[in-house]
């Protein structure tokens, strides 16, 4: 099939099956209001074109897959390119037993189930391998007890991708297993977590004598660390730029000239100090864009560019610095908050929410470790807890 033929086919299919007025926002946590459409996408082989036919794919090349995605994107239709983007389905594909895979993957690809991540714990943030949530085998199921945190979408999720400790007498990385934990059961309590921004995008999840069928185990028992690495890699490649700008948007002009406009509105555009700061922050934003563009251009298929890993660190610096600049622009007006003071609200929100990027998904400090070790080849630090039984490791 030539590219032209494929494009023609997809266009024809979309014309027949998709109404552009149905355009929706991407939904990364599973359950979709467009299940019936997504079922058709899957049936047509557009959901996961690079996968084998028996799993709903068409064994296409990644390049062909991107052609399909481009056509879907052009009309705002959801559901294509899930072989690249669907964290849940990819993880299940790679590690679930054939039975569970065949059951769950179609549901994941059609948004029939909602999902959440049960990784972080209060005592295991930067150090995920230190999880203390336990899963104990009882017959054909595991009993689960523990506490998870920083979980988005927990309240509506049908399953959580869970890491839990299944062996306490081996080093920490070697005693973890990975599960699809059913969320709709007694023993799972979801509490919204109030953030410093006074929002609650995340939850704490308290797990008390909940159960997960042994069939929902992904990868080998005690082999969950490797599954997690795969899942995290998918997540990172999908996350892109998750940083949020100012909340209200009211006080926030758009584009490269946005900070200039903001300063003009605040009546301080003639302040040389502020002009220099505007130049710096705007430059960092543009440089980040340029770096990403160059990374994409240099990206060989399937391999990741060294520059890629810099985006999160760069964004962290941009957000914190922009928060400072917006505060400087406003002066005493930054004392305020609330809807009547949108510019102050934006500056203050940003000054807090910048930590979402500089802490969330691995702190800047962890990120610098990763860049130093994986990108620059600098040696790791001695890891004192790498080999001792987890029982003996101090954590929390």
């Amino acid at each position: 099939m030539t590219d032209e033929e494929l494009i023609a086919e997809v266009r024809g299919w979309l014309a027949a099956n998709w109404n552009p007025r149905d355009k929706v926002q991407a939904e990364s946590f599973g359950r979709s209001p467009y299940q019936s459409f997504l079922e058709k996408v899957l049936a047509a082989g557009y959901a996961v074109p690079s996968w084998p036919k028996e799993l709903g794919g068409r064994a296409m090349t990644p390049a062909q897959g991107r052609l399909i995605e481009r056509e879907f994107a052009a009309v705002g239709a959801p559901g294509a390119g899930q072989d690249r983007h669907n964290l849940w389905a990819n993880t299940a594909l790679a590690y679930a037993t054939p039975e569970f895979r065949d059951e769950i993957v179609p549901k994941l690809l059609t948004g029939a189930v909602g999902m959440c991540l049960l990784y972080s714990e209060p005592g295991a943030g930067s150090d995920l391998a230190a999880v203390r949530t336990r899963a104990d085998l009882e017959g054909d199921r595991f009993r689960v007890n523990g506490q998870k945190v920083w979980t988005s979408g927990a309240a509506i999720a049908d399953y959580g991708m869970l890491i839990a400790r299944t062996d306490w007498d081996v080093p920490k990385h070697l005693g973890i297993s990975f599960f699809f934990l059913p969320m709709k059961q007694p023993g799972i309590e979801v509490r919204p977590l109030r953030q410093i921004t006074d929002e609650a995008h995340f939850n704490e999840v308290f797990i008390t004598d909940a159960f997960v069928p042994a069939a929902n185990l992904l990868g080998p028992l005690n082999g969950g660390w490797k599954v997690l690495q795969t899942a995290l890699a998918y997540e990172r490649s999908v996350m892109g730029d998750a940083a949020r700008g100012p909340r209200s948007g009211k006080g926030s002009p758009k584009g490269d000239g946005a900070l200039v406009e903001l300063a003009r509105e605040a009546g301080v555009l003639d302040d040389p100090l502020i002009r220099q700061e505007i130049a710096q922050v705007t430059a960092w934003k543009i440089l980040n864009r340029m770096n990403n563009a160059r990374a994409k251009a240099e990206l060989k298929r399937g391999t990741s560019s060294p520059i890629m890993s810099l985006g999160k660190l760069a964004m962290s610096r941009i957000l914190h610095q922009e928060a400072r600049l917006r505060t400087l622009l406003l002066g005493a007006d930054s004392l305020l908050e609330g809807p009547d003071h949108p510019r102050a609200e934006d500056a203050n929100f940003l000054s807090l929410n910048a930590y979402f990027t500089s802490i969330g998904g691995g702190t800047d400090q962890i990120q610098r470790n990763i860049i130093g070790e994986r990108v620059l080849g600098l040696p790791k630090e001695p890891e004192i807890d790498r080999t001792m039984p987890f029982r003996e490791v101090r954590s929390g």
Binding site: S126, I196, S334, E337
Partner: protein, 370 residues
Amino acid sequence: MTSSLSAEELDAFLESLKRLLADRCTEGDVRRLMEQPGHHDADLWARLSEMGVPGLLVEPAHGGLGAGPAVLERAMEELGAVLAPTPILSTVIATALVQGLGDEAVSARLLPGLADGSTIAAVALTGPAAKWTAESVAVAAIPEGNGWRLDGKAAFVLHASAANLLLVVARAPDGIALFEVEAGAKGMSVAPLPAFDRTLDLADIGFEGVAAVRLSAPGDGWAVVEQALDMGRVALAGEQAGGTRRVFEFTTGYARDRHQFGRAIGSFQAIKHMAADLLLESESAISAARHAAEALADGAADAPQSISLAAFACADAYVRTTADSIQMHGGIAFTWVHPAHLYLRRARADAQLLGSSAAMRERFVQQLGG
């Protein structure tokens, strides 16, 4: 230490203050007050008043301790350390304004109440330009009959909700002058402002033909206001230094206790080195605030310069320390229940009150001869 208290007396005074605050101004208390309009704890204020805190600057003849700015600064460190929501800053500025007038009758009438805490003052100091400069004053005073009438706007007035004394800095025909307005006077509108630091009571006050009593003598009175602002800046620097040190302490404590990768996170250089740099910030803030207070107490020639320095050094140290503290804590400090953000909110507020860091740096350069 330059004060009328001996070193032992000072230690004892600060020790009592610490005990009172540990008892009556816990994090829970602060959070409770954040949710209440006005954020004023009358009980806490009464107890602080019993100890003499509001009257630290007031001479014994008018019912105060007469301990001077150096002791005030030390007390502010303690109040700042626990984010105490009190009208102390307004009280300090009002006291210094009244004292600066040098009018015995006014002093005798106003200082005793300020000293014993029964008078809670609000001071309308700056207009919406909010630079706490003479140019920013946006209330005009016009003689009317035996008195004066005020028209215009004051912005970011502190503690207006709890106040029973309102002092207004206004532009009279002969220059900046100080006025007194009765609480609830006709033509006055107090509009509470939603503050990012939720312990802060802020309001805009509008004046439309409000009757006022002039307190200051004829002639331009900005010098008196500037002196009072400098006293306020010393108090604020103390609050910032105390807050900085407290945040630094609980952050390094967390770095010692929190374990990840089988090690205390404080054993990692990333955290350890941030802590070392913050120690410099924290100790410098303490030095700057205390030095400024002592210079003012001594009437040193370089007191205003030391105050400018303390103003921006303490403001910047507090903002940086609270910001780095959240990063050093990681996720736990991104939650509302953790106190780190409360200090960040206070630090960001304090960095604006009575003039920005940039403005204070500019003033400092002028004082250096530039």
